[in-house]
Symmetry: C2
Subunit: 205 residues, 2 copies
Amino acid sequence: MLGSPTETWQDRRRAAVRREILDAAWEVAHRDGLGGLTLRAVAERVGMRPPSLYTHFASKHALYDAMFFQAWSEFDERSAALELPADPRAALHGIARFYVDFAVADLPRHQLMDQRVIPDFTPSPESYAPSVRAMERTVGRFRAAGGVALTEADVDLFVAVVGGIVAAQWSNDPGGDRYTRLLGRLVDMLADDLGLATVTSGEDP
Amino acid sequence: MLGSPTETWQDRRRAAVRREILDAAWEVAHRDGLGGLTLRAVAERVGMRPPSLYTHFASKHALYDAMFFQAWSEFDERSAALELPADPRAALHGIARFYVDFAVADLPRHQLMDQRVIPDFTPSPESYAPSVRAMERTVGRFRAAGGVALTEADVDLFVAVVGGIVAAQWSNDPGGDRYTRLLGRLVDMLADDLGLATVTSGEDP
DNA sequence: GTCTATAAGATGATAGAC
DNA sequence: GTCTATCATCTTATAGAC
């Protein structure tokens, strides 16, 4: 990410235009859906002709890739700043609630991060990195918090079922809480299965 | 669905062509992906010109709709024929395993049934009916099997987490069993939560 | 009634002038 | 870097042969 020191000329302008295009792309994705995003709409919103976008993004998929990177980077930063309780069970609740809240707050962002809604689009390794980083740090923090030693299977199960809650929420009750309100109960089940001491019950009503 | 009795002339031919087109559509979906399906490819596979397809399906979405109906109808029939153990916990394992096996066996079918991969496509009420039927019958059978009285929340949680297993399997380990092999453990957790007697442990290794 | 021929409108993408 | 053409592809619709 660090260009050579002499190259700070108008690279800032380029970066600004890139950001502007990305902002426009998110707005269009919210208005027309992630799959309904078109380069025409993005260009119009940013005050350009469609072909001019290709100066900043090599393809439509490259634009999706940058959005994917942006979304996971934000998740990574905010999860790094998340303060977790010392108690392992409470920490598990906090982690799950944070992930679900983030995923339920924004549909196109969730679709891009956690589903494969765009045909033929696969995130590049560079854009995939923040998600791996967030996952590894979270697991590491939990392990260090003095909980049990999580196996790969434990993490897999946790990720899968919490992701299921989010998917069901978006699919069957968008904007509601029919499924997300079951999260506390689910996390307690998982905590029981992991043998975490039941210090406090779930924080959910 | 029942035409007037006199109308059995060449309606069979029409139905046969419809089936032929549907078969071709599934083949194309398997080859090019569900979202990558084009009417051109379907027409070519069936030996037609693209516009001729509109004689049998009003639009591409109507074709997707018929595929959706077909997929859920097959699930409905096969789940109706499924023999479940008398023991509630074992029955829960059987139901979950059946659903997961069905969903993991065919990617485009799963995407069409359980995800919203096609922009702007929403199944018609008629095509949605088989899925509701299958769900209601399954819940009814389980209730009648002498288990506990399942609440709506119980069913919601079950559907969400088992769906999460399937989604994670397809997303992170297509063709493998990294997540599906955790199903037995998950179902036992749910059964414990429901207070089902632990007659036999899960049937999975 | 069914299919073929053909075109309209939209999209992602490229080439070349300025 | 941005623009004006321009192309290929796909969905959708209409006109007309058999």
